[in-house]
Symmetry: C2
Subunit: 413 residues, 2 copies
Amino acid sequence: ELHHTCQWGTGERWGEQGTETGMRRLSLSDADKQARDWFVDATKALGCNISVDAMGNTFAVRPGRAQGAPTFAGSHLDTQPSGGRYDGILGILAGVEMLRVLQENRVETAFPIGVVNWTNEEGARFPISMMSSGVWAGDIPIGHAYALQEVGGGTATVKSELERIGYLGILPASYEAMPMAAHFELHIEQGPILEKEEQKIGIVKGVQAYRWYTVEVIGQEAHTGTTPFGSRADALLAASRMICASHTAAADHGALASTGILTLSPGSVNTIPGKVKFSLDIRAPSDNIIDKLEKHLKSDFDSIVSTESTKALPLSVTWQTDSISPAIHFHKDCIAAVRASANSVLGDEALSREMVSGAGHDSVYASRRCPTSMIFVPSRDGISHNPKEYTSPGDCAIGAEVLLQSVLRYDGL
Amino acid sequence: ELHHTCQWGTGERWGEQGTETGMRRLSLSDADKQARDWFVDATKALGCNISVDAMGNTFAVRPGRAQGAPTFAGSHLDTQPSGGRYDGILGILAGVEMLRVLQENRVETAFPIGVVNWTNEEGARFPISMMSSGVWAGDIPIGHAYALQEVGGGTATVKSELERIGYLGILPASYEAMPMAAHFELHIEQGPILEKEEQKIGIVKGVQAYRWYTVEVIGQEAHTGTTPFGSRADALLAASRMICASHTAAADHGALASTGILTLSPGSVNTIPGKVKFSLDIRAPSDNIIDKLEKHLKSDFDSIVSTESTKALPLSVTWQTDSISPAIHFHKDCIAAVRASANSVLGDEALSREMVSGAGHDSVYASRRCPTSMIFVPSRDGISHNPKEYTSPGDCAIGAEVLLQSVLRYDGL
Ligand SMILES: NC(=O)NCCC(=O)O
Ligand SMILES: NC(=O)NCCC(=O)O
């Protein structure tokens, strides 16, 4: 069924088999709308009530014996522009499978059980990751999210696209309007550890801190053939030095730094770029390290700008902070539910391990408003955000069983 | 009249005055067509016969007493995406002014006199500079020029755009079909020397060598949050190191290196770029230095690729040579004609100087098939390929007078 849903937004082919393609299902695109429609139809058919909130977050809720806040399985159906078939998708599909098992076996839960598809987890088309779980948690102002424009110079905004695909719901996007008893998320590890250690389940205790910035360098447009090095204010040369410096500094701090987007103007072979904008994504185990690294980079970039600046033609650099995701520690009850479920499914404690997530997930924001934990399954070669992302059917099934049991365990609590 | 023609393709405003804007008149655009139509009408009205060749090069020829190859003033009406009002435009407008002076004063020349507007000198939209003088000279194959695609991912080609704007002429684009007795070109200096030395005319003896390349770096897309530095093949980090290295190496060789275009994919904040393409423009006084610098850079880029490559994930780099413009030495008779004319107009040898052009010009290719020289006038602050490019009306007039006299002197020879 996971592969069936990958017909909407199929990406780059990398192998011969029918399912050996990546995904390109950018948030709020036509393909995303088709996947959402499938989610609504599938969960309705399993006896759920559907609510769509003002961010397009879609909640499918199966009633329990008593009314009250549901325990949710959640993740996302959007992907990177050259993403794979598992990141986010597996979590939703396993949630639907959970609903099917409950329904086919006429399981009555104490309280309602739900599955939520969060809007724009990836932050790829609209550059804030975990955007709509962030609005739900009250951490990202809805006006800010609505106004976000797509990367690459298009004019579409989050709000205009929500309207266009018919997912601008009437329920307020808020933990008060849609409270959760707990949030569990099955996800691929996106890293190499489980595979290397030959383990099947990661019991996720938390998520590392990260921040996203847009850095803009302003220099001066000039002729590449007539302008000596000493008379230039080359915005791209300065930006290149910054990208190199960000890697050195991050390595020194035991952190990560990455640039995934870079645009320049005017964009002509024989004109020195007068303006460059690039994204900067920094990550570290603690907020403290992130603070230090940010400081370090601001000072590094300032010295690059002053070293590269000629007296006549100054360069300048400005930083815009696009998003802040602090280091997160999940809830002990949820972690315990995942651990117990992993042991029950695997029958051997050595086959699971505790870990910290390198990537952000909607569980980051969920955890600010309800007990939360995550379940990781192995990623082949640790590869993610790449069409070749792969997790075997057997490993997906184990993850789905652990998700089902964790949700039921928590409902029992 | 120069400013009148700047209504077609007006660019960025930088000052309050009516003429204080730059230009954006990309080759074979609608604005370029309008400027071309003006050129045809203006020169027809001055008694010229018009021929358009298969590259859209447009020749306006005023008959002389005897038939034979005309002496031409030539330059170009296309501009950079954020160019100014003088680069190329001044040369054409001074040519039209020359025709007007000849016509109003009923001057009979020994042989025909012409003005030529060459297509796509800038190489900004279609990335080969001096493209159509290169085809005329037999140095660039017409099929290669026709097939060039616009930068930035559009699908328009030189041929499709020539057809679309109605400038795909029937005359073969060749020095045999349209022979020239000589080619003179008035141009702004685009550098700081004349202004600094308080001189009015540059007598251009030649043009430095340059080459353009497209460099492609292939790495592997991966998640910015879950992929440790040691497991990355970051195409943008490698490209940044190459851009920094190209500057260091060029400085060591007394040469220039510049990158004006850089594109990457997939272009998402949290995906490490798997592919980067960038332009590289290197220039030096001699072909020998260019050869050495190219070798040096190829070896530098190879070491960057191998240093950045992890065993599991190799990076690779490939070079494509887009254009080669060897160092050029202009013809002594034309240089002498410019020198004599400058002295006659300025009345003081100290007000002119010999110089070598840092930028390429259509005179580079013209010089391969007929005696050629150029006339430079001062550029304020040496600024070019920038909306703020400026040469005073007085300096433009001096340049136009020297152009007129040089052409008449050569016709006399
Ligand atoms: N899991 C995942 O890829 N989330 C996107 C947010 C991030 O960049 O970590
Ligand atoms: N004069 C001028 O800007 N020509 C464009 C070709 C070059 O890049 O030198």
